[in-house]
């Protein structure tokens, strides 16, 4: 297992290097002049030039890149021009919010999509199958921000069931003492059920938005995978041996069918990390997505670089977890590697 992990890490380093370089170049290519922004609207050309030198923006790109990499080595991600705060601190503060939202959405999505996919496969061709397909497809046919807005409109304006989409907690509640940064877990650990319910009710709509968005690929993959497995020879053997339906479908078919689904999860997570950005904007969620978007619009590159790097590392960790999970389910990967 350790060998597998270290092999993976070896492969990943060139990717991260690529990510760092591309981000650097992209942010430098952004329109807008950070020096002018920093100097303020009243500054004249000379003042802007002075600021430019002070920020090190007059040096050639290679030198700038060198100092950037050196900073990275010291875990210094720079300072945001718009907020004045160090990027690392801001990211640390905001990451749990995004992570909680994304994980919540993903888990909700899997809880619905996987059983849906299994049902559609087992009852192939029936109206259940067609309905599943249509419903799942409908979910991905709307832009994710539109789904979010629609949900807000229906559940907040029309029905009044949900609280106002103003962030992680209603103004009357204060966040629980920070252990993991996840409000749901922290409030439970503190046995603070009121805060738990409040945090959950705020999470529901944005989580549901992400869930609707990722239903289709997971359900589709589960269905396709289950269909392939149900038609396989070893399921035929299991049936011919008289094993009952539950054992055949769950123990024999499902475990084998999950393998491609686990791989799809990695891709879906990547989509969600991207969709996060939009959802955070709609629901005023204080996550790293909204942080990065604001920075991008203002051509403030340090936060953008920090954000992309964080995301890339997160993605690497996630893929590693998925590989390990895959190894747990499939002994062929474990033993042949």
């Amino acid at each position: 297992m350790l060998a597998l992990i270290s092999k993976r890490m070896m492969l990943v380093i060139p990717n991260l290097i690529g990510v760092v370089i591309i981000t650097f170049l992209l942010t430098r290519a952004l329109p807008g002049d950070p020096a002018a922004y920093f100097a303020g609207p009243a500054a004249d050309k000379q003042a802007i030039e002075q600021i430019r030198v002070k920020l090190g923006l007059d040096k050639p790109l290679i030198v700038q890149f060198g100092s950037y990499v050196a900073d990275l080595g010291h875990l210094n991600l720079g300072t945001s021009l718009t907020t004045g705060q160090p990027v690392l601190t801001e990211l640390k503060n905001r990451l749990p919010a995004s992570a909680e939202l994304t994980l919540f959405g993903l888990i909700l999505s899997m809880a619905i999509a996987v059983p849906l996919g299994i049902l559609a496969a087992v009852k192939q061709g029936s109206w259940i199958d067609h309905t599943c397909r249509v419903v799942a497809t409908a979910g991905v046919s709307l832009p994710v921000f539109f789904t979010g807005l629609l949900l807000v409109y229906v559940f907040y304006f029309l029905l009044g069931w949900s609280p106002a989409p103003l962030g992680r907690l209603d103004v009357f509640f204060s966040p629980p003492p920070q252990i993991t940064g996840f409000y749901l877990i922290d409030s439970l650990l503190n046995r603070d059920l009121a805060t738990f319910r409040a945090a959950l009710s705020q999470l529901l709509l944005p989580g549901l938005t992400l869930c609707v968005f990722s239903l289709a690929p997971i359900a589709r993959m589960t269905r396709a995978s289950m269909l392939a497995v149900l038609a396989s020879d070893f399921v035929r053997t299991a049936r011919a041996s008289g094993l009952d339906s539950r054992t055949v479908i769950l123990t024999y078919a499902f475990r084998n069918a999950m393998l491609p689904v686990v791989t799809t999860l990695g891709m879906v997570f990547s989509f969600l990390l991207g969709a996060n950005v939009l959802v955070e904007k709609v629901f005023a969620w204080p996550g790293i997505g909204s942080y990065a978007v604001e920075a991008l619009i203002s051509s403030d590159f340090a936060p953008v670089q920090g954000f992309v790097l964080t995301m890339a590392i997160l993605y690497v960790v996630l893929n590693l977890i998925i590989d390990v999970l895959y190894g747990v389910i499939d002994p062929r990967v474990r033993l042949e590697a």
């Binding site: 020879d233 035929r236 049936r239 011919a240 041996s241 094993l243 054992t247 475990r255 084998n256 499939d330």
Partner: protein, 579 residues
């Protein structure tokens, strides 16, 4: 664990032991397909007595597998039993509700299939899989389940059963997987075992071991067995009675010896004739009506002139999996011993004369396919020489060979007719491909040439515009042959060209191959695992084992009086029908 016995169980326990165990009467099975309702099996009668072994023999489309699926009631959704009765030990299986049927499956009647590795759950330990069946049918307490599973593994003669309990299917060989499948089937001591082509795809020595084991176990437990196969020889060698099916009907039922010595039905006689066996010639394989006009076959004795193909000390090595990528070499610990390469072909030498037909035989993994692929110049050798008509073609890299004029002189007929035809090309386009690429630019007459070739191989001209999935196995094989002879090559390598064909179609195709060879003056390198076929078609034989040539010489000599022990083993393993 003790539950109230169901109605079916009670019926079974009180059944009359003198009646046949399985009595199928007037069975008709229908499938709903795109083209309407198709009757796969029509009004058949089959019975199996207690302790008897019955073989159901037929070619593809005969309905032999469908019958057994219908008995076990595991037909897929499109199929249903339209008519007839299936009485198992006095119980009408058609009337049994599904949940009780599930109890019967595995406990009273069980089935083993082809492709044993695929028949096992790839991510579950084999011991656990046997336990699942035992526990499902409440044969043991959960505490004793693993002991019972290990005991079953012992019965099927798997060495070190306690260790192997924890093995996964991918860690076992094909033969061992089939033993595990047998263990699964026999775990609950059923009364009837149905074996659906259990040895197809296995080597002939493994086949013998598996069949011997199966027959031994079933006889010991006084079980009945139904063996479904396309191989009449196998059926007659291992079973008491034989049922012959054709296109959904039973055409003959008789004792094994009778079927072989005095078959009464015309179809059985045709199958008998078409089965390659010692003591007959190619022409004898054809149905009686068709041998009249056929020319007699002459044997070539290998001319004194320079042989067409000379292979000397040919070696092909593959690096073993561990000899891995660059990163490992940079960052990993230095290996103490240099990783061995795997020698698929270990220094072999042989020749093929002009107009000669040479057989290359061996079991899977012996290197015969690798050898033929190298001679074809599809892969590169590691060392040695390949001389074709005086030219060293071994030195030319495979990538470059494709576009040289030499390419058209060496062609191939593939084993799997389905796999070797581009699904998007019509038959005509497939046959035309070599003409378009390597021909002399007579583009205008390509269609005429295709039709001429089709006639030469006996393919009806109307079928030229069909796609492969619209053709039968025999027709696809003919398309492959037409494509191979399109440019009149000097040497054709045939890689098990008839292995996937029905035996009657095989008889026709083998005769066709012989006629083409004579009329076009080609040489053949015939790669096969089937010694009986090689005996009929080849002048000389080369026997390979683990990358080396064990024996080579004229066919009569090697196959009648073999020198090497391995050749003798191969010959003994071929099922001997009662003579």
């Amino acid at each position: 664990m003790a539950k109230k016995p169901s109605k079916t169980e009670t019926l079974l326990r009180n059944s009359d032991k003198s009646l046949p165990l399985l009595d199928v009467r007037d069975l008709t099975v229908e499938f709903a397909t795109r083209r309407g309702v198709v009757r796969a099996v029509q009004h058949i009668n089959i019975s199996v007595a207690k302790g008897e072994s019955l073989a159901i023999v037929g070619e593809s489309g005969s309905g032999k597998s469908v019958t057994s699926y219908a008995v076990m009631r595991i037909l897929d959704r499109a199929g249903r039993i339209a008519d007839g009765t299936v009485m198992f030990s006095g119980v009408d299986l058609r009337a049994v509700p599904e949940n009780e049927m599930r109890e019967l499956r595995g406990r009273e009647m069980s089935m083993i299939f082809q492709s044993p590795r695929l028949a096992l759950n790839p991510i579950r330990k084999i011991g656990r899989q046997i336990e699942d069946v035992l526990l499902q049918h409440a044969q043991v307490d959960s505490a004793q389940a693993s002991e019972k599973a290990i005991e079953m593994l012992e019965h099927v003669r798997i060495a070190r059963p306690r260790e192997r309990y924890h093995a996964y299917p991918f860690e076992l060989s094909g033969g061992m997987c089939q033993r595990v499948v047998i263990a699964l089937a026999l775990a609950c001591k059923p009364q009837l075992l149905i074996a659906d082509e259990p040895t197809t795809g296995l080597d002939v020595t493994t086949q013998k071991a598996v069949m011997d084991l199966t027959v031994d176990l079933t006889r010991k437990r006084d079980m009945s067995m139904i063996l479904i196969t396309h191989d009449l020889g196998l059926a007659a060698a291992y079973c008491d009675r034989v049922v012959v099916m054709e296109k959904g009907h039973v055409v003959e039922t008789a004792q094994a010896e009778t079927i072989f010595k005095a078959p009464s039905h015309r179809y059985t006689r045709k199958l008998m004739r078409a089965t390659p066996r010692p003591g007959v010639t190619l022409r004898d394989l054809l149905p009686e009506e068709e041998t009249k006009g056929a020319r007699p076959i002459g044997r070539t004795n290998g001319h004194a002139a320079m042989p067409l193909l000379v292979v000397e000390k040919l070696v092909k090595e593959y690096p073993r999996n561990d000899a891995g990528g660059s990163f490992k070499k940079l960052f990993g610990p230095k290996p103490t011993v240099k990783p061995d390469n795997f020698r698929a072909v270990d220094g072999i030498s042989f020749t093929v004369g002009r107009g000669e037909s040479v057989g290359l035989v061996g079991e899977s993994g012996c290197g015969k396919s690798t050898t033929s692929t190298m001679v074809m110049r599809l892969i590169d050798k590691t060392s040695g020489t390949i001389m074709f008509d005086g030219q060293d073609i071994g030195e030319i890299p495979a990538r470059k060979f494709a576009t040289l004029p030499l390419r058209k002189r060496i062609q191939m007929v593939f084993q799997d007719p389905t796999d070797s035809l581009n699904p998007r090309f019509t038959a005509a386009r497939a046959i035309a491909d070599p003409i378009l690429r390597l021909g002399n630019g007579e583009r205008v007459f390509v269609r005429e040439r295709c039709e001429e070739l089709a006639r030469q191989v006996g393919l009806p001209v109307e079928l030229l515009d069909r796609f492969p999935h619209q053709l039968s196995g025999g027709q696809k094989a003919r398309v492959g042959i037409a494509r191979a002879i399109a440019l009149k090559p000097d040497l054709i390598i045939l890689d098990e060209p008839t292995a996937a064909l029905d035996v009657s179609v095989q008889a026709v195709v083998l005769n066709l191959l012989q006629d083409l060879k004579d009329s076009l003056g080609m040489s053949y390198l015939f790669v096969s695992h089937d010694l009986n076929v090689v005996r009929l078609l080849c002048d000389r034989v080369i026997v390979m084992q683990t990358g080396q040539i064990v024996e080579q010489g004229p066919t009569e000599q090697v196959l009648v009086a073999p020198q090497a022990a391995y050749t003798r083993d191969l010959l003994t393993a071929i099922p001997h029908p009662p003579v």
